[in-house]
Symmetry: C2
Subunit: 325 residues, 2 copies
Amino acid sequence: MKIGIYGYGNLGRGVECAVTSAPDMELVDVFTRRAPESVKTLTGAKVYHVSEALNFRSEIDVMIICGGSATDLPEMTPELARHFNVVDSFDTHAKIPEHLKRVDDSAREGGNLALISGGWDPGLFSIARVYSSAFLPSGKDYTFWGKGISQGHSDAIRRLPGVVDARQYTIPIEEAISAVRAGDSPELTTAEKHRRLCYVVAEEGADRAEIERKIKTMPNYFSDYETTVEFISREELLSEHGGMPHGGAVIRNGRTGLSGESSHTVELNIRLDSNPEFTGSVLVAAARAVGRMRARGATGAITMLDVAPADLSELDRLTLISKML
Amino acid sequence: MKIGIYGYGNLGRGVECAVTSAPDMELVDVFTRRAPESVKTLTGAKVYHVSEALNFRSEIDVMIICGGSATDLPEMTPELARHFNVVDSFDTHAKIPEHLKRVDDSAREGGNLALISGGWDPGLFSIARVYSSAFLPSGKDYTFWGKGISQGHSDAIRRLPGVVDARQYTIPIEEAISAVRAGDSPELTTAEKHRRLCYVVAEEGADRAEIERKIKTMPNYFSDYETTVEFISREELLSEHGGMPHGGAVIRNGRTGLSGESSHTVELNIRLDSNPEFTGSVLVAAARAVGRMRARGATGAITMLDVAPADLSELDRLTLISKML
């Protein structure tokens, strides 16, 4: 299966690494909006300008689109799905139905198959929510995120006057997780499930108390949360907080029995050293499924909820059945 | 969707309870090998003798077969798949490929769809192994079972002279789970991952030391394990150990990055008050998928690895996408 990568940032590099672990796949081309000669890939894969992508229609089986959800993917995915089988990681939850519709229209027009919103949330976590609610229909589920870096919250801090750089960790509150794991089904807001830890590099002479106040009172982002602000040096930020770890858990408690007398808990828990590398790895498995499902005749837009687990695996069906079932 | 239950023991009752939680399903008939008039169902569903099942072909959309894997299912499932869409929970791992082939042949002959080996292991745990290995191809996974009652081990103890009754709990060893969760990838045998705790009711005057010695030295079942034997009264056995709890975890550690520099852990963990009720609930969701996939034209034998998550859910696709993705 021949793979193209459209957009070459952290996620594009994660996809590139993941393709090297897939014996049934080959990375043929990378497309960038920058000057191609200025981009050096990790594996030496060839780089072209995005404007040339359509010339490669015949040699790419699935294009993995590695753009941002805010402005890139709403344009890129419908446009590219007209010409390629594609996978994206669109993660603006509220806008997914609209994105799905637009991508579905253009993929059908082009006779292609497009998988949107791949990754871990949406993606693996969505899958966990669907399985656990299908198996425990009388119940309640909880999603916890972290410990991990939130890009949006880090950016919000960086925009404050006097701030040179910042990293914000979203951290699940251990007592909330424990209560849910114990089978309780409390009503918890996002703020009651998570706290926020901010590492900030301030300009010399900046008013740190004022920066801390501005962060802690920032509506939507921080004001509803237990927020901790720590000022550190630029060197410490880079050496101690330069990675992109993330993780989280989906926990569902449910009841069975004629009158709900038995209680059950199903939990999916992930711990990731590198968010973009794991997300890239999920997108590569999704691309495999897209190639297979397209070969069986499927077109239009799908999500990971529409993909059978076996289609994601490099192993053939009988090996899966004898080794993993 | 109209459901039949073939075999009415603990699992059959679990399925019966689960159907009451499914707004899109109706339990129409229960079939038993006992005298039908001697069987009273939990919900008042009608009971017929198994010999009458074929008369109900036109009114049952999916038959859920609730027999044992040792001798019932190898006969029942191929036979019934000729006449009905079916679901079973065949769990003799080594014989699954052979069972799949036989069921596939007869289901195709009858133009039906059969899902075999539904439940949690095989079933939900198999799904977890496939997803996590597809997303982390360079890695290693571990399955832990328990804390829960093992029927086979309890039976083995009951067969010893001087034993009135017994319950055996399989318990995962916490240190092994912690090592795996921490991202280590040790080589561990089943015996290094689990210990065994036996509650035994002895006949009056029986040689307890001899019973304990016989249990602890029993090959395959106990001799390789750290085994604890406790003698208790019949009353305590019934009041404290009368339930059928179970659970376990599938944990995969994997590496990504060009040279495996990032480490990740994906864990599915379940805790069940009632093994047969949860298994029954999984089989009912599987029956829903079988009904839908058959309506789209599928025939033959499949497993839960061939089923897209969305097909298991009572919710329609757009609701799933807007609420769970």
